[in-house]
């Protein structure tokens, strides 16, 4: 079962996005009132402290807006319990904690930014279409919550226009390709459906920076990627440059760290980077419009597409640059 153990380790290494706990908590919270309203108020106390809980339940029933007071306290209590004694919490439930714990905890979390108060990215447009030539799946992000609405509008329009044009172009090329295929004796049955997937990923989101990428993957046999990165300074509403992030010497700083990292990675015989030895020039310097995103640590991560600095099997290459 050695291989299975390795596979399990991979599985367990799945990166947990930082926004997960926000999303989970707000999902649990949004439904809280509705659920509580269905709970009958004559829940029997099994010990003294449960009276506290009973009261909050009744309160919730009495005024539909109990969320702000009792509901919130309850939820926070769960959270404090979960953190303090996770194993205990399941069966014992929330009983046995005093009000003061509740309030202290409520105070400590009330200042936390909740989902929706920040700039965010969500699915703005979804297209799913298929014919006998091409299969298109497009999921476009929409940015919301920037303080400058004009910038927000510009970015959203740009993403829509650019990606729609790219998909149209792919459709046209696929149609020509199929025509040529059939004209040169290929059969309908053997034609490999071309697939175009447009998707996005939020790389990081903080109070200062929103970083996400819109990608197009076109597959017909092998996969080709195109990535468009958006790094927005949420304070100035400008798109960040590497110079903004690393200072005037950004080219030297990035080049040195990338070269060093390539040297480190090349020690593993599985990794191969172009080095000029077979007539293919390797990494020399970052480009003027070098692709990058901002990671959770707030550092820029320089990205090279498949084939750019290494053979295709190495895929997309990323290098975190520290200041």
């Amino acid at each position: 079962m050695n291989k299975m153990r390795e596979l399990r380790r991979l599985y367990e290494n799945t990166e947990i996005p930082p926004e997960l706990s926000h999303i989970v908590n707000s999902a649990l919270h949004q439904n809280e009132n509705g659920i509580l309203k269905n709970v009958k108020s004559e829940v029997r106390s099994e010990n003294e402290n449960q009276g506290e809980l009973k009261m909050s339940v009744i309160k919730n029933e009495a005024n539909g807006t109990g969320r702000a007071s009792a509901g919130k306290g309850r939820r926070n209590l769960y959270r404090s319990l979960t953190a303090a004694a996770a194993a205990l919490a399941v069966m014992v439930g929330a009983f046995g904690y005093g009000v003061s714990t509740n309030e202290a905890f409520a105070d400590s979390v009330s200042g936390m930014p909740l989902l929706g108060t920040l700039a965010r990215v969500f699915i703005g447009e979804q297209v799913d279409e298929s014919d006998d030539i091409i299969h298109v799946e497009m999921k476009l992000p929409k940015v919301e919550g920037l303080t400058d609405k004009a910038v927000e509008e510009r970015i959203n329009t740009e993403i829509h226009d650019k990606m729609t044009a790219i998909v149209e172009d792919a459709k046209q090329r696929a149609a020509e390709n199929k025509k040529a295929w059939l004209e040169t004796g290929g059969t309908e049955d053997e034609y490999m459906l071309r697939e175009v997937i447009v998707d996005y990923e939020v790389k990081s989101i903080s109070n200062d920076v929103l970083s996400f990428v819109v990608s197009k993957t076109e597959t017909s046999g092998s996969a080709y990627y195109e990535m468009y990165y958006y790094n927005i300074d949420l304070n100035t509403n400008k798109e960040l440059t590497l110079k903004d992030m690393l200072g005037d010497d950004y080219i030297e700083i990035a080049n040195k760290q990338i070269s060093d990292e390539i040297a480190v990675r090349s020690k593993n015989p599985d990794n191969l980077y172009f080095d000029g030895s077979e007539g293919v020039e390797g990494f020399k310097t970052i480009a003027a419009d070098q692709s990058f995103y901002v990671n959770d640590a707030g550092n820029p991560v320089v990205v090279f597409n498949k084939y750019e600095i290494s053979p295709g099997y190495m895929g997309i290459q990323e290098f975190e640059i520290t200041k």
Binding site: K3, L7, I16, V24, L53, I316
Partner: protein, 173 residues
């Protein structure tokens, strides 16, 4: 506490605790199907909504976890069916340090691809058994099949994965 009351306060507590405690696990499971952060987050979020909506049908707190897995797995399989997306696994997706001396990178990639190519139900059984350490009887509850069906499917899946059985598959049963 009367057992007639639904949703039962104790079950509701158990649900909240279960989701908060296991959120990382739930996310990982969803991610293993859709291989996409946004979709995995969506699935977890919707599964919580659906769970809360249906929680009154549950009458035993100790079933909460298995029950939620069932909702989650159904949501994942639904999503897969909807998108029918083949997820290409490129070598760079293997995190650094993921490969040990005893198993080569190629072997691991082959195995991973074999796992991805299983039908969703069989993949679910393998993932729950080997990655989530779930008992086969619980897996049967999660996917809504009987125990012998689960065993047969697991054997068949492992055959496809060409993983050698070491006799520990059915321990703790």
């Amino acid at each position: 506490m009367s057992t007639m009351e639904k949703p039962n306060e104790m079950i509701y507590n158990a649900f909240i605790d279960c989701v908060q405690e296991n959120q990382d696990r739930f996310y990982r499971l969803a991610y293993s199907y859709v291989k996409n952060k946004e979709s995995a987050l969506d699935i977890v979020q919707n599964a919580i909504y659906n769970g809360l909506r249906a929680i009154h049908t549950l009458n035993e707190p100790s079933y909460v976890k298995t029950w939620f897995y069932r909702i989650l797995v159904n949501a994942c399989i639904d999503e897969l069916r909807k998108t029918k997306r083949l997820v290409p696994t490129d070598p760079q997706e293997l995190p650094e340090g993921a490969v040990s001396e005893s198993v080569s990178r190629e072997e691991l990639l082959d195995l991973q691809q074999a796992l991805e190519s299983l039908d969703p139900e069989s993949k679910t059984i393998v993932v729950l058994r080997y990655f989530e350490d779930m008992k086969l009887s619980d897996i049967a509850d999660v996917i809504g099949a009987n125990l012998s069906t689960v065993k047969t499917r697991l054997y068949r899946a492992l055959e496809k994965l060409k993983v050698e059985l070491e006799g520990d598959v059915f321990k703790n049963e």
